[in-house]
Subunit: 348 residues, 2 copies
């Protein structure tokens, strides 16, 4: 059976000019997949005509009149934009017409709408944004990156469990390391919230490897990094800003004078390999985890290659059966760890 992905065509900085060709590229690389493009049909037509016939045959267009603005308040989008490309794409997951949806639109609106339409997995209080980043040893999954700015210790523990199951499923790892983002590796460090979360993670059944500091993210000290959405968002964006500054500085220096430009020409294969290894576009596509349906958030500024990767992540999340596995793990945890503890406390 083929996997259907619903794509919000209108979201992001570039809209259909990026999302339509990206869907085409994705379908070319995934012969068993199908895509439902949701958005303003008139804007898609000429872009669809450019795709090869066998790709276009696996695309269905669902016309919608409305679009959620990038700066629109989530609550307003939820209330007033019931025929928006974003809302309809999420609805398709709810009705089962699509196995996953993806949008490069307004993060807050996507989160609020997906939560309202799809609801939470049992045992999970809040969705989290989970993204993948390159490290010195491979890659790391980090959550939450901005969905929850005020978290309880329990929420952080839930993020750890979800992240652990996600990496197990997607990377075929038995017991991924889960690290807790903190300002020191010692257990005495950090806020009371973080200390409580550490205690909870120890008992949660995940392979908890303790605190890690900001630099540990890129050293690859953990497979999963857990943090609240405020800290996670600042950390992610700090990294984005620094990467951009370093790349710009390198480009500037290679452009300074004839000799530098000549050496850049000779170093081109090296610089291309460097760029490819750390290309943030290859890591595009954050998972909104904790919902009863796969929802992927693409970076708003993603180009065709980047958006294609995000659609591919939706596909892999579905084909690895991530939601089912998280539900089972939460059920086991409830049965084996949490309920016995409550009983013990009642008896003790």
């Amino acid at each position: 059976m083929s996997i259907h992905i619903a794509v919000d065509c209108m979201g992001g900085d570039h809209g259909p000019a990026v999302t339509v060709p990206a869907a085409g590229a994705f379908l070319k690389n995934h012969p068993d997949a199908r895509v439902v493009l949701v958005g303003q049909e008139a804007e898609m037509t000429s872009l669809l005509e450019k795709l090869p016939d066998d790709t276009r045959a696996r695309i269905q267009v669902r016309h919608t009149a409305e679009v959620v603005g990038m700066d629109e308040a989530p609550a307003m989008a939820l209330k007033n934009k019931k025929d928006s490309s974003m809302r309809v794409a999420i609805n398709l997951v709810k009705t089962g017409e699509a196995a996953a949806c993806i949008s490069a639109g307004n993060t807050g609106a996507l989160m609020a709408t997906a939560r309202f339409v799809l609801k939470m997995l049992p045992g999970i209080d809040r969705p989290a944004i989970c993204a993948v980043m390159p490290t010195m040893r491979g890659q790391v999954y980090m959550l939450d990156l901005g969905a929850n700015i005020d978290c309880s210790a329990d929420h952080l523990v839930q993020f750890g469990i979800m992240g652990s199951v996600l990496v197990s499923a997607l990377e075929h790892r038995e017991a991924p390391n889960v690290g807790l983002l903190n300002i020191g590796e010692e257990a005495i460090k950090g806020t009371s919230l973080v200390k409580e979360a550490a205690a909870g993670l120890k008992e949660s059944g995940v392979n908890f490897s303790g605190n890690i500091e900001g630099d540990g993210i890129f050293k690859g000290e953990a497979d999963v990094v857990v943090c609240d959405g405020f800290v996670g968002n600042v950390s992610l964006k700090t990294a984005e800003g620094l990467a951009q500054m370093m790349s710009t500085t390198l480009r500037e220096e290679f452009g300074r004078g004839l000799l530098s430009r000549l050496s850049a020409l000779l170093a081109l294969p090296v610089l291309r390999r460097f760029k490819r290894r750390l290309d943030h576009r290859a890591f595009n596509g954050a998972i909104l985890i904790g919902l009863r349906g796969v929802t992927i958030k693409s970076h708003g500024s993603a180009d065709v290659f980047g958006f294609e990767q995000a659609i591919a992540r939706a596909y892999e999340t579905v084909s690895s059966d991530v939601l089912q596995r998280i539900s089972e793990r939460l059920h086991e945890l409830h049965r084996d760890v949490l309920q016995p503890r409550v009983k013990q406390q009642a008896n003790g």
Copy 2:
């Protein structure tokens, strides 16, 4: 009159092997400065003999028997290590024998001891760690970077005022831009703490430019970035980790095969300029601000060049009269903004 700097010779990963030659290099570049080296005299002797006579003439050695361990609990160091090189260096500032002190040792112990010995400036509740970082447009001062993990909105406002006066004094800028680190630029974003701090900064008399996101730090969107110590520490270390990963990856790719190594040779002047522009060692030396005395924290792993820059920052902080200016600004603020507001509230 010459400026005396007290150096904790024993702190950091390398101790006197770094701190003594760094003091020598600093004195060479600052003919009117003097240094008091505090630590175990026997470990310094042979290192001192390597310095030129005119430099050595401006060095005084203060022998101490104890050393604060890098992982020692701050409260224990404060209680038990009264003859440590760190404590004695701070004491020299208290007695006026030195105008500033510097240590690459245990941050928590340095903070606790400096606060206990030197006390806070009037109107300031807590010290903050303030470091300088390169940006696309120049440099940025960021605070707090780990001294305070639970901050009130008032503390963040105090950090903004101190940072603003610091940049005024050190960079000769009239009204530096102060930005508040947040997860969105819009005023509605962020925790209630951050929103309250934004309101306070607006009324504080600093040139408050609103919220900035993590990537804004390196885009140079503000001259001063204010955040709590948990978020600031994670952000700083995230940046350190990413910079290290990018440098390592670049080096690896330039080392891959004969042609790459050849192109590296030709690109050497470019790569050197790139490295120099972003060299973290040039930015070494964080100011522990808010204390009644100049205390500088060097990175524990600093090399001779890096530690020299940190001593130079101590010197500049003293010669720019930063503490006096912060005290005056706080006095004015109290007189012109805070007191009238209290009166108004009493009358209103």
